[in-house]
């Protein structure tokens, strides 16, 4: 067999095989085994340890470009918080996030009988990132323009009369669902580290390595790394959802990538041993 051919494989074959391998598990989930990583376990257990009525602040800082990863993270986090009867305040430092947030949390809240304004609030998009967050440490109304995502005055929302400032006394946990800047860095620098509030992060996969040192140092108590993190979280909650279904496809996709990397290298070595060159 001429192994060197693998070095010159038409890239379109890779795309077609990848597409087929990814689509099949979407139609028929395989239920591949999954283990929960320590950072996901820490994330889930931090939320689990909160007593009912605790206030969780969720920074949903992403856009449609990363919704495939961040939406399942938000859905699993919000569902867990609602199950535990926690109070949730969501704010976005990205202008395209509030509508995504609403589309994710509304069906969950409705299915669990939770009331907007009492159990959870979506403050919507607030510009100026860290400056807005610091303003909220004095008075949320100042930093948020005193309105939620659809322009309702915060005075009309009972939860926002209980939670008036982003401080350690009023907020028990901060969670950042993030895909870049502004995002987790603003919370870490301006809120959680200076104020000593426990902090969890749910980054997209590409941001994991950048945040891992903060997890290691304890500045981030737990992490949901990408879609895989969301799937593990669903698995931990024993409520497999969209992320778990997609993880089958993701795992098979990774196997295909590994196989092609292997074949590409074999092709490269084979062509080199023949004294030729390979692309």
């Amino acid at each position: 067999m001429d192994w060197s051919k693998f070095g010159d494989l038409d890239v379109r074959w890779i795309y077609i095989i990848m597409l087929v391998v990814i689509i099949v598990p979407l139609f028929k989930p395989l239920g591949l085994p999954m283990s929960v990583s320590p950072e996901v376990k820490a994330y889930a257990e931090t939320i689990e340890a909160l007593p009912a009525g605790s206030v969780v602040w969720i920074g949903a800082d992403y856009s449609p470009g990363s919704a495939a990863e961040n939406d399942p993270q938000l859905a699993a986090t919000f569902k867990h918080a609602m199950k535990k009867d926690l109070k949730v305040v969501i704010v976005s430092l990205w202008d395209q996030a509030p509508d995504l947030v609403q589309s994710v949390i509304t069906p969950i809240a409705e299915s669990m009988g939770k009331v907007y304004g009492v159990d959870y609030v979506n403050l919507g998009y607030k510009p100026a990132a860290g400056v807005a967050l610091r303003a909220m440490t004095r008075d949320i109304r100042d930093g948020a323009g005193n309105v939620d995502y659809k322009g309702t005055s915060l005075d009309e929302l009972p939860l926002m009369n209980e939670v008036t400032a982003l401080t350690k006394e009023q907020v028990d946990l901060v969670i950042s669902i993030n895909t870049g800047s502004p995002g987790y860095g603003d919370y870490l620098n301006y809120i959680t580290d200076p104020l000593g509030i426990a902090f969890l992060s749910a980054p997209t996969a590409g941001m994991i390595t950048g945040q891992m040192p903060f997890y290691r140092s304890g500045q981030i108590k737990g992490m949901l790394p990408g879609l895989a993190g969301a799937a593990q979280y669903e698995y931990w909650m024993e409520e497999p959802g969209l992320a778990c279904i997609q993880m089958d496809a993701q795992s098979l996709g990774h196997l295909v990538i590994l196989a092609f990397i292997l074949l590409g290298n074999i092709g490269y070595l084979a062509s080199r041993s023949k004294g030729g060159s390979s692309n």
Partner: protein, 176 residues
Amino acid sequence: MFRFAEHLTVGLAAAHSMVRTVDNYLRPTVKNEVIAEGQWYLIILLLFGALMYLRHAPGINWIARYPMSWFVGYGVGYTLAFTPKPFIKQIIDTFIPLTSVDNIIYFVITMITIGYFFFTPKWRAESRTGRTLDIWARRVMMIGFGATFGNVVQGRISLLLGRLQFLLHDWLGLIG
């Protein structure tokens, strides 16, 4: 066609951001804080910020540099005031007891990587030890970049899955 779609997307995103900022922050702030609470001095700041648009006015576009320099100065001040604490925590976390293989590897990698970015000592380029350390520093950094790249590939597959989910589930209704 691609250019048209590209420009349309950028235009829509900019317009969306602007409308959101006005609707969700500026207008309620003017209504609640300026008019209702009488904090009229905020108008001065608003006008000062608006001077930025003078960069499009030929002849007086230099005025736009003042609000811009104020913004930059404010941003730098803010960053310098708050970032040292998390940063120092990161440095402290590097001082770990060398009691396990993991910790020793972590310590060695940190030291040779930081050392790689000290460009001044001549002996490094001239001695074999220095060159060997540089090679290993590059190798461990490549491992770090490789891990990031691997995660990015994972993220790209997730994004493809998101689109497939949209096409096959939300749009065509082919999957449950």
